[in-house]
Amino acid sequence: MKHVISAIVQNESGVLAHVAGMFAARGYNIDSLVVGRTEDERFSRMTIVVIGDDRILEQVRKQLEKLITVVRVRDFLGADCLLRDLMLIRVHALPDKRTEITSLVDLFRGRVVDVSKSSIMVELAGTEEKLEAFIDLVRPYGIRELARTGVIAMQRGQTTTSDNEEK
């Protein structure tokens, strides 16, 4: 089962090492990990996607909470939340194929952000599934390069992660 865990951590050096080290030492595999600023400059948000059964995830969550520099932890599994992954992808596209590809881009509500003689670069955001579907469709044209940010998550409605007293 895929779990999206969001952790509010102290914004200081060494925190990433604490988190990554804990995962490595306990043999938990990280699917993706995104670190970014939050509305409060003292804290950063780490969004971590981990695959594992509920029992393992329960341990991951508890071990994360145990880290001194981790302020709050929340597992988004089953929660009403938005998940977003951002991708830049360069597809092989000679002039005769460009319109075909750009219509796919439109269909997925992506954007063409760069065009060269033989390729175009597309920016696309959405759930991981949506990105995978797009990748599958453009694969026949030839994928030159691909970069993804990994998933970030936020709960819908009024509650904020900081409201959830998970500790």
Partner: protein, 572 residues
């Protein structure tokens, strides 16, 4: 151990203009540090200059590992936080074994390391090591001090983290320039730990009632008690719970002394080398009440077959301990002492005659035994020491067979009596541990029961004992083998003793060279006299006992076997 930081007079102090080294010395005293173990070096010169006429007693050891184990044992034997200091690079890396040892056994300790100048960090400077990087997995937390104005606050935070919640070692790495720099203005001493909310205190009343009901309903309950009870200071209320409910009680290696073994309800230690009656009781029980224990594999044997009939109640201060290895039916998160006190009034007087009778049957059928014939048996040394010291001494151990015999035969009465490396199993722990415990308990008899292999690793610290005029005693159970490993080779590798014969030097001669009194005993007839001589001696004493080389520790649950699938000695 949920003590908050000690009395704090840092607010009244004027720090402005002080050097980092001065702040350091002052903060250590404010945290109640009386003894600091360690070893100097280049980057620590400013700090050692401050320590030179400080009230803090500095103990120079012969190796940083020794210093670290001493600070650890000082903490284990007193409940206070132990403190150790080492220089950058090799000094710091010499602490690693000691930090990992303390971390595994939840020991409150603060380690200070010197670091190269901040501007040189990351440059492969002379004696530079990435100490916060190396020690992260073996500490509860660590800090790198980047600015002298953070130093005081970080030291305060380090002591608080080390001693609160589930205790553990905390390391503070201090670049030399942070010790020479002068404070410009008053630093902010307020702790800033938004992510640290240690559990402790009381538990959830509803859960506690649920647990009490499960206990009252049980016909065959067992209390499985661990190191958490000792850390919490919960052994008095634990005894009350056990007696009120008539609940047989077993302890882990780390829990020895939390329940008086001379009490009829005591099952002594459980696990790989625990008593057969404890293991049978756990396997047969219908309610297992775990208090401050962590279901380690040396205790549970094959997890899938562990306590198959039991409803499991798990009391622990660390939520991550719960359902880590065994799925728990009723979790209780909080401090052992608080929760047992909450629970006691709900426990009904129990009789449980059939259960007690069944257990007494096991006790009669499977006693801990050995045959006092031929060469001196290591077991009889441990047993005799127990009798001669009225089961009241503080006993440190190395790791191996001698450690298990000590656990089985000394006869434990009180918490903080056994000082042993359980989780990491660190050979060489015994000698420095006894010394550290002695510094914390100057008036008590402290004895290290060691193996020839373990003793050889750190015996150099006997010098530290002698030079500080300590009355610490060291017994070496010399079996000419790395016995614990040899036992496995005998049982599972066709007696092929690869790398386990261990030829020893003349330990008495070495001990005398170090300045200690010493005696070698080879014959049973001399043993008691030699033990008494050791106990009555004034100074450091090394008693070298030549014991039966191929004696084995029984019972034994082989790796991966169910807890009641035990190998017994020939006498059962």
């Amino acid at each position: 151990m949920t003590k908050k930081t000690k009395k704090d007079d840092t607010k009244a102090t004027n720090f402005s203009g002080m050097s980092g080294a001065k702040v350091f010395e002052k903060m250590l005293r404010d945290q109640g540090v009386e003894v600091l173990f360690g070893y100097p070096g280049g980057v620590l010169l400013p700090i050692f200059d401050e320590l030179h006429d400080s009230k803090i007693k500095f103990i120079l050891t012969r190796h940083e590992q020794g210093a670290c184990h001493m600070a650890d044992a000082y903490a284990r034997s007193t409940g206070k936080t132990g403190t150790v200091i080492a220089t950058s690079g090799p000094g710091a890396t010499n602490l690693i074994t000691g930090l990992a040892t303390a971390n595994m056994d939840s020991v409150p300790m603060v380690a200070i390391t010197g670091q190269v100048k901040s501007s040189l960090i990351g440059n492969d400077a002379f004696q530079e090591a990435d100490v916060t990087g190396i020690t992260r997995p073996v500490t509860k937390h660590n800090f790198l001090v980047k600015d002298v104005k953070d130093l005081g606050r970080i030291i305060k935070e380090a002591f608080y983290i080390a001693s609160s919640g589930r205790p553990g070692p905390v390391l503070v790495d201090i670049p030399v320039d942070a010790t020479t720099a002068l404070l410009d203005g008053e630093p902010d001493m307020e702790m800033a730990l938004p992510g640290y909310k240690p559990r402790g205190g009381k538990g959830n009343e509803r859960q506690i009632k649920l647990a009490a009901k499960a206990i009252n309903d049980a016909e065959r309950p067992v209390l499985y008690v661990g190191g958490g009870v000792i850390l919490s200071g919960a052994s008095d209320v634990l005894r009350e719970v056990a007696i009120k409910g008539n609940i047989p009680t077993t302890t882990t290696l780390m829990g020895l002394g939390a329940f008086d073994e001379s009490h009829p309800l005591s099952l002594k230690m459980l696990g790989m080398h625990g008593t057969a009656y404890a293991n049978h009781a756990v396997q047969a029980c219908d309610c297992l009440i775990s208090v401050g224990a962590r279901f380690e594999d040396r205790v549970t044997g094959d997890l899938t077959k562990f306590a198959p009939h039991a409803k499991i109640i798990h009391l622990d201060i660390d939520p991550a301990s719960i359902s880590k290895n065994v799925m728990v039916d009723i979790p209780l998160v909080g401090d052992a002492k608080c929760i047992l006190e909450q629970m006691l009034p709900h426990i009904k007087d129990g009789k449980r005659e059939a259960w007690i009778k069944q257990i007494d049957g096991w006790k009669k059928k499977f006693p801990l035994t050995y045959k006092a014939e031929g060469k001196i048996k290591p077991q009889e040394v441990c047993e005799m020491l127990g009798k001669l010291t009225d089961h009241d001494a503080i006993i440190a151990t190395g790791v191996g067979q001698h450690q298990m015999w000590t656990a089985q035969f000394y006869g434990w009465k009180k918490p903080r009596q056994i000082i042993t490396s359980g989780g990491l199993g660190t050979m060489g722990f015994g000698v420095p541990a006894a010394i550290g415990a002695q510094f914390g308990n100057p008036d008590k008899l402290v004895v290290d029961i060691d193996g020839d292999g373990s003793f050889s690793m750190t015996m150099v610290e006997i010098i530290t004992s002698v030079q500080n005029n300590l009355p610490t005693k060291f017994i070496v159970l010399d079996n000419d083998y790395l016995g614990m490993v040899r036992q496995w080779q005998q049982l599972f590798y066709n007696k092929r003793y690869s790398a386990t014969p261990h030829k020893c030097p003349d330990f008495t001669l070495i001990a005398k060279g170090f300045g200690a009194e010493a005696r070698t005993v080879t014959d049973r007839s001399e043993l008691e006299d030699a033990m008494k001589e050791m106990i009555n001696s004034k100074g450091t004493y090394v008693l070298h006992v030549r014991v039966e080389p191929e004696e084995n520790v029984f019972p034994m649950v082989a790796a991966g076997k169910a807890l009641d699938d035990m190998i017994h000695g020939e006498l059962i």
